[in-house]
């Protein structure tokens, strides 16, 4: 990873690092090869016509490159409508082909965690109970879905 002052600031003080207690939705991105994980917490505002991320936080059980990716991507996603978040995820995943595989896996893990958080939110609404989704990363960048129902954090 080439480090400039902007990257250094993300390393030193990652945006949105931490968790949201009682989050509207939690999504997990996981690398099945090494067990690394990204957990994204979102709060959602539905007062307008489309659901919007009103608050976002992430935790990384992973390397510093993943932390930087989490900082950059969650900063971008904060305040976006779900459709804009979907665009952000698509753009991020689309860019991974041009990045070295290790760095690609880190960014992919964040992107799929974000996808899991918004999909989990929509699914929770549909099912009437909280759903936490875990998406595993793949070389192909298409998330493999795995269901897990998780009780809300006390």
């Amino acid at each position: 990873m080439e480090i400039d002052n902007e990257i250094l600031e993300h390393m030193r003080n990652p945006y949105n690092y931490g968790r949201i207690d009682e989050a509207s939705s939690i999504g997990i991105g996981e690398n099945p090869q090494n067990g690394e994980k990204v957990i994204i917490y979102i709060n959602v505002d539905e007062s307008d016509s489309e659901a919007t991320i009103s608050q976002i936080a992430f935790e990384a059980i992973a390397c510093m490159t993943t932390v930087v990716a989490g900082s950059v991507i969650t900063k971008e996603a904060d305040g976006l409508t779900f459709s804009k978040v979907e665009e952000l995820i698509a753009v991020t995943l689309g860019m991974l082909e041009h990045v070295d595989p290790e760095q690609a896996a880190c960014s992919e893990m964040v992107a799929v965690a974000l996808k899991a958080a918004i999909d989990g939110y929509l699914l929770s609404k549909e099912k009437g109970e909280k759903q936490t989704l875990i998406y595993k990363i793949e070389q192909s960048c298409s998330p493999q879905m795995e269901y897990s129902k998780q009780e809300e954090r006390e």
Binding site: L8, N13, Y17
Partner: protein, 278 residues
């Protein structure tokens, strides 16, 4: 008491970071000693929580430390201790409460007398001593220091949690050695980060990392991680050996220290397996 435990964790880290920021050897030593004492308070409070059957974790708020003047962070430490005083009556053990209170009083007095200094630990200059490192070597060193300072903090917290929640004396002796070793590494890396102008507080650790489901798996994975850390040290040493022989020697030294950590973890694993077989 849980809140006091969390705040003690935070003030320990702030004091440790302040010790890295100072360039005055006496100030640095005082802050370093105080941070060690605050960490001990943290472990004693943890013991009280366990004795009282209170559920706890190592979650905490992020601790901002970016300052231009040492006095600002010193005042912040004193302010934190003053706020924590209001929580002290929740400590029911009289001896512990008295001990913490008197330690804080002395710390506040001493910190109040420390001279101000200009802080350059956040300058982002990314130069170490007089070494003329290439951009590639500088990036590798920067990334290594961020990764490994977090890793050492993580190891301190993991072994501390395991030790606090285990009654196995044999394992606990090993965990204590590994805690002491990680403290040395964390302090070495933190000092280098401050000198390079890239000082940062390690991020909060997710509880699944220290609340391990299987000690056996944890030790096996830990041995693999130590092997990977050795490899990283070797790569870094090779990357800087031409431009900075002293730095290369330091990373070799850290690399060789990892051998003993691996041996200790293998010993812990053997003990655990034998105990399980009994």
């Amino acid at each position: 008491m849980k809140q006091l435990f969390i705040k003690t964790h935070e003030v320990w880290l702030v004091t440790l970071m302040a010790s890295f920021m100072s360039k005055n050897s006496e100030t640095k030593q005082s802050l370093n000693d105080f941070s060690d004492i605050l960490f001990r308070h943290f472990t004693w409070l943890e013991r009280e929580l366990i004795k009282s059957g209170v559920e706890y974790d190592y979650n905490r708020d992020s601790v901002p430390i970016k300052v231009d003047s040492l006095r600002v962070i010193l005042d912040n430490i004193v302010e934190r201790l003053n706020t924590m005083e209001l929580m002290l009556p929740n400590v029911t053990d009289d001896a512990l409460r008295f001990r913490i209170q008197t330690d804080w009083e002395y710390m506040k007095y001493q910190i109040g007398n420390l001279a101000d200094e200009e802080v350059t630990a956040f300058s982002a200059k990314r130069e170490y001593k007089d070494f003329n490192l290439s951009n590639e070597a500088t990036d590798a060193l920067t990334l290594f220091l961020f990764e490994e300072s977090y890793k050492e903090y993580e190891l301190i917290m993991i072994y501390n949690y395991l030790k606090a929640n285990s009654n196995d004396d044999y394992l606990n002796k090993i965990f204590q050695i590994l805690i002491d070793e990680s403290f040395f590494h964390l302090k070495s890396f933190g000092q280098m980060m401050a000198e390079m102008g890239i000082l940062a507080v390690p991020r909060v650790i997710h509880e699944s990392i220290y609340k391990v489901e299987s000690l056996e798996e944890f030790l096996k994975d830990g041995i693999d991680e130590e092997l990977a850390a050795k490899e990283q040290c070797k790569e870094l040493s090779d990357a800087v050996v031409k431009e900075a022989k002293e730095l290369a020697k330091f990373f070799d030294f850290i690399n060789y220290q990892e051998n003993y950590h691996i041996a200790l973890m293998q010993d812990a694993l053997r003990h655990f397996e034998e105990k399980g077989a009994e």
